[in-house]
């Protein structure tokens, strides 16, 4: 598919519920190693609530879908990831106000807006071993692919590959933000849970939108 619309966003967010349920224990184990053993639980709770909310009252347009998801995440996730993913979707909603469909460059812009929100809220920089280390290279890769006139598949594939690479590289980093930072050098050698959930989010977009 070359464009996505409201239903595709809905499908993506519903897919995220499945993905975080499936990866709940993995994310929690990653968080147990360098945090407080709840990231998988938080993400699962939040996206289950998002899916339930859509069941009850599916929003009418693209921005509405993302904004509803944001509000539900802010209300239900808590912890660090709640405000961060909440802000991500809030800003993503802002990026498609009024839109009914998005092409490859629109998708890249959506993720870029979300990323900016995360950085503003959490003040993390590249290399701090956070979700930013997956999101930042992913957004850069998507923007590059889009400006190279890549199609949707290419843009998403570039995002997934860069996010995965970024996620893996968090393993070697020393955390400087979030709970993991309290470990100092002991955080090295463990992959960051938030970077992992961010990678899963982008891969779910690719999986959902490429098989449309």
């Amino acid at each position: 598919m070359e464009i996505i619309d409201r239903d595709d966003l809905l499908a993506w967010l519903r897919e995220l519920q499945r993905v975080y349920a499936e990866n709940r224990d993995w994310l929690t184990e990653l968080d147990a190693a360098i945090g407080d053993a709840d990231h998988g639980i938080n993400m699962d709770r939040g996206f289950t609530a998002v899916a339930e909310d859509f069941e009850k009252s599916p929003p009418a347009d693209m921005a509405g879908v993302l904004k509803s998801a944001a509000m539900v995440l802010i209300r239900t996730v808590g912890g660090a990831s709640g405000p961060l993913y909440g802000t991500f979707f809030l800003r993503a909603a802002g990026a498609c106000t009024g839109a009914t469909k998005l092409g490859p460059d629109g998708v890249a812009a959506l993720f870029d807006a979300g990323l900016r929100g995360v950085v503003e809220r959490g003040r993390a920089e590249a290399g701090d071993k956070t979700m930013v280390d997956a999101l930042l290279p992913a957004v850069a890769a998507m923007q590059r692919a889009a400006s190279d006139d890549g199609d949707m598949r290419a843009v998403l594939a570039a995002g997934v590959a860069a996010a995965e690479e970024g996620m893996r590289r968090t393993g070697d980093m020393q955390a400087r933000k979030g709970r993991a930072s309290y470990l100092g050098e002991r955080s090295i050698g463990h992959q960051d849970p938030g970077a992992t959930s961010a990678f899963l989010m982008i891969r779910a977009a690719a999986d959902t939108w490429n098989h449309g």
């Binding site: 709840d38 938080n42 802010i74 996730v77 912890g79 990831s81 405000p83 309290y182 470990l183 100092g184």
Partner: protein
């Protein structure tokens, strides 16, 4: 996992229901969004004092709601920050027209959620000030971390600010007082065993039969170092060696001291640790003017303890002595 619970996902809710039933004279519990609020809130003309954080640290924070301490507390899931909608609703519920003070432990999640809540309140014309508690000396280099964690001093900030608010102190002065208390408090914790988050179902960390974790956080976050098990005397010294030079506490200082149990340690052992603390303070010329010994800020069933010292001036001591009537702390009434 061995716990007195029904389903892990209902632990917080059912425990709050029990708190409400047991202390109907002092507080009420609102669900959806969840917050604990003093029975007679809002008190007209009084600043509302609100705190909150992940559950699993009881009596903190819900057990400190009542008269002379917190007006409201927002409980998150176990070890997970509560959300802005809870904080906003709690702030509104205790708004007596003089604004609201948020007491926030310095964890990324808590800070960001309280920040969002403050933005929501302020956007609606409700004055909010925040005090951040970041007293954990176990976090050594705070430049390269999210900063020091908020631990034991939180209890003291809540008591002292709560008393000042009850006496009619205005919001700006209250925030300044809270910051002064937070700036003068230092803590360090240690663990003998891990805790188990109900939803996770297994211990947060592994620890050998003859090991202890020094500098542990209140969520079972690994600390400064894993060490061979030592005596209470050695443990108290290690903790004081980190705490005292940090502020620093000096010969002649008067302090409020707390020996706090992490949840799974018998009171008998806490008094034994207090005995060591007392000796160390005497030797260092530090006067323990007031003290708490018991479980005040816990980590579920973790065995271990923390020590908090607060360099207290006369105003703080007077506010410490002021009446407090909450499930977790009560004197003078």
């Amino acid at each position: 996992m061995k716990k007195l619970i029904n389903r892990p996902e209902d632990v917080v809710k059912e425990s709050l229901a029990g708190l409400a039933a047991a202390h109907a004279d002092l507080l009420r519990v609102h669900f959806d969004p969840a917050y604990v609020v003093r029975a007679d809130a809002p008190v007209t003309g009084k600043v509302g004092v609100v705190s909150g954080g992940g559950s699993g640290h009881e009596p903190l924070h819900g057990g400190y709601v009542g008269r002379g301490m917190l007006d409201a507390a927002c409980p998150g899931e176990v070890f997970t920050s509560p959300t802005p909608d809870q904080m906003e609703a709690a702030s509104r519920a205790v708004d007596g027209g003089a604004g609201v003070l948020h007491i926030v432990k310095n964890y990324t999640g808590d800070v960001m959620n309280f920040e969002m809540a403050a933005e929501l309140c302020q956007a609606d014309g409700l004055a909010v000030e925040s005090v951040m508690v970041n007293d954990d000396v176990a976090v050594e280099d705070s430049l390269y971390t999210a900063g020091r964690r908020g631990v034991g001093t939180t209890v003291l900030v809540e008591k002292i600010c709560g008393a000042a608010a009850e006496k009619g102190m205005d919001l700006a002065s209250l925030a300044a007082l809270g910051k002064r208390v937070a700036a003068n408090g230092r803590s360090m914790g240690m663990a003998l065993t891990s805790c188990t988050v109900p939803a996770a179902g297994k211990p947060t960390f592994d620890i050998g039969e003859d090991e202890m974790e020094i500098g542990i956080g209140i969520h079972g976050e690994p600390g400064r170092e894993r060490k061979p098990l030592a005596t209470a005397r050695e443990i108290a010294s290690m903790m004081m060696d980190a705490i005292v030079p940090d502020l620093p506490f000096r010969r002649g200082d008067a302090v409020i001291a707390m020996v706090n149990g992490m949840g799974g340690t018998p009171l008998m052992e806490l008094y034994l640790v207090y005995h060591e603390l007392e000796r160390i303070c005497r030797d260092s010329g530090i006067t323990i003017a007031r003290r708490l010994v018991g479980d005040y800020i816990t980590s579920l069933e973790m065995a271990g303890c923390s020590i908090t010292l607060l360099r207290a001036d006369d105003e703080m001591l007077a506010l410490w002595d002021a009446p407090v009537m909450t499930p977790g702390l009560r004197w003078g009434c």
